[in-house]
Symmetry: D2
Subunit: 432 residues, 4 copies
């Protein structure tokens, strides 16, 4: 049967690439994936899946870091202009862009596959050296770019959806496809879990193109040390004043934020393991000659363990309060994302490794890597594990044009087919 | 004749207030004053003035700190929507929003009056306690506000224009009205001077509502210690990287800018006189979890003398280069505004003081104040003085609701008529 | 008689230079001037003055910024080794190094002359280019240097003391000589005033070599805008920890202090006039690989007015508290010096100016300068003025080798004799 | 025989404690351990060891971070006052305080034991709650304290020396005892290696009280991930100026250092593993009212790998240069310590573990810990391994009163005897 499986994958390889480029061209950031989600929903319905979407797939009150209603509206309109079905988009109002699709193939365990669908707030390189630009499929949406490979993930998800329907008879159990919005920023998993996305799941598999598998032919069978994280929006509010005539009457929010940013990065390393701190964005001020009364920082902390993340987060709180005190300004902090740490299940790793070895496609098969970063997948996996299931997170090797989140990011599309084949054979292995 | 003059002013007082509120409602920042300038141009043409505008009033190559073409286009469209004549706006394309209007009243010297017309990049308070909001004439243009009284100045300029035509026969000489864009940021004066705005001027008078004259009834007859200034845009360019997976591969432009901002404000005071340093705006970063590869600072230096301003500017250059070195990022600086220091002429002060005393309207008449801030008027005045003319800058007292450039700024409109009367009588005194 | 006066001064000119070099060689910082004060006391007693010293000249409880007892002991021992009479030094125990000497020349008003005697905590240049080093009279006391000319002031005081006794018969009134310790740091004046140093004084004269009179032949007859000041010692107390094994367990006082220092210098300029902020010393840490649990900052604020100084001081308090909060450390602040602003009396200036003009020695006579710095003399002068007296502070021009408080500082000793002559003739003018 | 060994150890347990308290009372920092080294030398000579010390044990040109000659002289004098033999101290002039003692017990391999002897630059707590203070054996030497347990290590070394002589007949090979100065700061190992300290060594054993073994009864059999490190002294040199009269003429070294310190701690974490950065000491300025022309920072970088340490060190270089540029000051950096990373040999670990299990004294035996800190022992061990030998570094559990390098540090002396017993039995195992 495995030969047949490979053949099924090979048949859709051109489609995988077509999908990938289409999603690459119309990237949408977290909670605004209206076009992406509508396209996926449409196809899944066509294929005969039982599809939950909108309020059935995302618990609105658990959503973190949602854009304003006005912004969402703009993105909905753009999605429709760019080909999304209005009636589907309508049901996703408010950013409810997650999808849970299931195919019931008879009695048996439930296998879940998670695909993240959002893009990054990055302006894609407009440079002939950048293949997506040269080949005409670079981002049409200013300031947004698929710079982390999620476009490839969506393509793989749709490919899997299609093939699974063709081998339905050979399976005994349920295949659940989870298309997750807002992976960047750790914003989406908890709201989909709250909506029941992993209820009853026995096995869960997640995959990512690249990361530690930066060469074609590599496969990493399991991943651990997912970092816990908090995402924060911090605002400082001061008092404006004429910068020359009465600067002493102002309260400078820009300097409070600059001071906070600098000192946050100076939080002591932790002897217990990796920590991270990033102020990714800072916007402050109203005019060149006005003492700046406002500042907004978008930032995050991370830790190899929850304790280390808490240490970072607590230090950040003190620094914000201290900087505000220094400059006589007010401050406010808002959590807009959060996820816990995680670790792949060794049993699941072994299954994947055996399949990979039998495939004889991967030139380098690695048991395990320590991730040292954050992935919302760990939230799904940890919940599955807590309920008695197992899971793993694999990395599919691909030559990268530049690092993840770089505006020159691109991956080698030849990794898509082997990735799908591995997933497919894993499903067959589990419930075939 | 003076009684007659006061009467002429009293007749138009309601008009002054109407004008002021109209301009307050449609504020436009530097080089985007299309509606304001078009309205002014239209009226001046109606009144029979010889009106130079567009490229005849502003030397394009000397303009500093001009917004992008795209931005200008948006503002032109808005101006037309808000009532500006399209054919006039058309000639102001590129931000050529200055106006030089002259009325030839026979042989004699030339008296120039300067009125600044631009608003501030500030969001006006939407609060019932704020009179412009309560009375329905607060800003319709998001992020822009007349928070420095220039709306009143334009109103006074139009009032003067109207009355002067009525007393034309009584004058021997030329009255020139200069409506200056881009006063905020010291961007407009040099480009209008280059277009000939003060060629042949013997006397120049400028006026400002408020500042050191914060009480109704006050009049300040002359002003000195206008601060020299440089306005700069500074960009830092680093390298983006995934904030968790490979932060060490990034080059952090946000931290370079934060560090530069902080250390700039720490430049030592100068024993030779007042200095100022302000980073008024800072925008950095592309995403919460991306090492920020970009930062833009809008800033300025000032000095009581050109030497002190140079000291500040040179220190700033070292700090920018040092911060870039620290964080391994590139930097670029661009001068977008600059003006020199200035001092009113004592003879002109004496004239104004005598007129003010005869008016018996002002309850407190002050000879001179040290400004301690920057005004583009000093550029016009210094050129007039260099060519053998004299000039002064007066402040017309008004109770203020909040400091200049505060989003609660408002002035007492009862100052408008006395201000116009003083100007009018000065013109009559000089060429009557 | 004036010819005679000049002759008297010329006779002692070599002595003035000898004194100056002796005091230069054995500099002593504030409250440790045991050798200097003992030498002066000894000579004044010899000359027949009524001399108050020790507890009679300094109110112990009002002393600010006194070194520790252990330190004082070391300095007392050194003073004795360097030639001070032990029995005199004994009475100065605790740092009571001020002297009030009076010569009663009959009925009449009291004229006070103030001479400051302390040196600076600066290591003198050991360089052949530095004259005191080349000529063998540079500092013998490591870390201490007469870098502000007080050595010349003491010499002038002793010269005056000697000549006054010779013209005693020609005077009607009292001449009081005040030798003040701890001028640097604004530490001594208030404690001497509290001990009665200016009780009953009708005229007070102070003089300084150099400052704004940086050329030979200059004389400045009066000085104003003495800056108000606060001197502070700030300590931060954190928690030490092994810098590699458990850095997160430490609380870093060094970084709290660094952050505070940087942000203090970034306190906004004040539109009301000159301000100053200086963290002059920072000592922190216990070992290279220990998270630093301790930091001490010696600092000061200044303001052209008391209000501006208060603004600086209040901002400093907020910054200290904020930095402590940021780094989770404790802090303590202690005022170790303070003085108020001051302004010379115009009548006294006129007297001095007339005398200077008659002398025909000064090549440039300046009425008034704005000081822009702090002088403990303003404390004495302000108290005299409050009690109905008058006073002025003159600057005696001298070519300087380097700025005040530079380790290459040196002045041209040819200014000493004209300085003494001016003082002498002022005394004669007032009570002759 | 093992019973006998334990008995031998038990006999000297009181002596171990006596030694420890004696060394604790007279702590000496790196390269100044004249008393400690002289006492050790004296006893080793008495016991009949072949003792190399002074220039025979330390290669002077390879010493890093040596105090000035003047300082060394003071410490030599103190050592003699505190009981060291002058003739021995004399030979250690220049800080040559290392000792290599060997006992030849016949043909066979060479076993080396390393004991570090230096104390920390920390002021010991004077507090009744602190046992060494309460029991009267706290530091007599101001500013220096055994806060890392090296006093216990010296005691164990002397205990071993004594017992080995008693079982000499039972051994076949050589026992070499290395007493290392300057372990703190990674200053001593390379200079002793250069003098031949580990030439011909087959087995090397090092031990530390506490660290990750913070409970009585714990034993850690091997250690890895010793951090590579660089120790730096950084000086900034500016220009002094009067802080009020001419602050703009100064160049502020204190602010340059503060800025550098802050930004160094903000160097991005490294995804490849642990990094450390510490500015442990900062001393700057000359006087409260002088713009500080001088600053000295004592600092260090560390990395889990040499690459990571290099990344930290290179970033530090850029930050120093950038801060100097910002403030217009000069800078100089000097390496005063450096060591490479290291990893215990698994074979040696197994030996130690077996012995520990047989002893039936330790309640918790741990195979391996990741150190995450720096130990100069790794330098010795790495050289031994490069030459074909093996080694391990054990941690002997002890309840600690406070963390290492805390001024309340103290350990439970009941760990000394088991530590010696383990070492002794390891020696017997290897060459018995």
């Amino acid at each position: 049967m495995t030969d047949t499986l490979r053949q099924l994958v090979q048949e859709i390889e051109p489609l995988l690439i077509k999908y990938r480029r289409d999603f690459h061209k119309y990237p949408e950031a977290g909670w605004t994936e209206f076009r992406t989600a509508a396209k996926v929903t449409e196809k899944l319905l066509d294929l005969g899946y039982e599809v939950k979407f909108g309020a059935n797939a995302v618990s609105q009150k658990d959503m973190l870091g949602v854009p304003s209603e006005d912004e969402l509206k703009i993105h909905m309109e753009r999605a429709i202009k760019q080909g999304a079905k209005p009636e589907i988009v309508k049901k996703m109002e408010g950013g409810l862009t997650g999808i849970i699709a299931e195919l019931d193939c008879g009695e048996g365990p439930t296998v879940a596959l998670r695909f993240d669908i959002d893009a990054n707030d990055i302006s894609e390189a407009k440079d002939e050296k950048h293949r997506p630009y040269q080949d005409g499929f670079s981002s049409e949406n200013p300031g947004v770019m698929h710079a982390c490979g999620h476009d490839g993930h969506v393509a793989m998800g749709l490919g899997m959806a299609q093939i699974i329907t063709k081998i339905k008879d050979k399976l005994k159990g349920k295949v659940r496809l989870i298309f997750q919005p807002g992976e960047e920023g750790s914003r989406g998993a908890s709201a989909m879990v709250a909506a029941g996305a992993v209820d009853g799941v026995d096995f869960i598999l997640g995959a990512h193109i690249g990361f530690q598998a930066k060469k074609n032919g590599q496969l990493i069978c399991s991943t651990g040390k997912f970092l816990a994280t908090n995402k924060l929006d911090v605002t400082f509010t001061g008092i404006p004043a004429h910068a020359a005539a009465a600067p002493e009457e102002g309260r400078n929010a820009l300097l409070a934020a600059s001071c906070a940013a600098l000192n946050m990065h100076a939080i002591s390393r932790h002897s217990g393991g990796a920590s991270r701190i990033t102020v990714g964005m800072l916007n402050a001020g109203q005019g060149r000659n006005v003492i700046p009364p406002n500042a907004l920082m978008k930032m995050e902390t991370r830790g190899e363990t929850t304790d280390i993340n808490d240490y970072m987060y607590n230090s950040v709180q003190d620094i914000i309060a201290g900087a505000a005190k220094m400059y006589g300004v007010e401050f406010q902090t808002k959590i807009v994302g959060a996820t816990k740490s995680g670790e792949s299940s060794p049993e699941m790793k072994t299954k994947v490794k055996n399949i990979a070895q039998e495939m004889e496609v991967f030139t380098e098969i690695i048991d395990y890597v320590s991730f040292g970063a954050t992935e919302d997948f760990s939230h799904f996996m940890t919940v599955v594990q807590e309920n008695g299931g197992i899971g793993t997170y694999v990395m599919v090797g691909s030559q990268l044009a530049a690092g993840h989140h770089d505006f020159y990011f691109d991956f080698d599309e030849s990794c898509l087919a082997p990735g799908v084949e591995l997933m497919l054979k894993t499903v067959v292995d589990l419930i075939g």
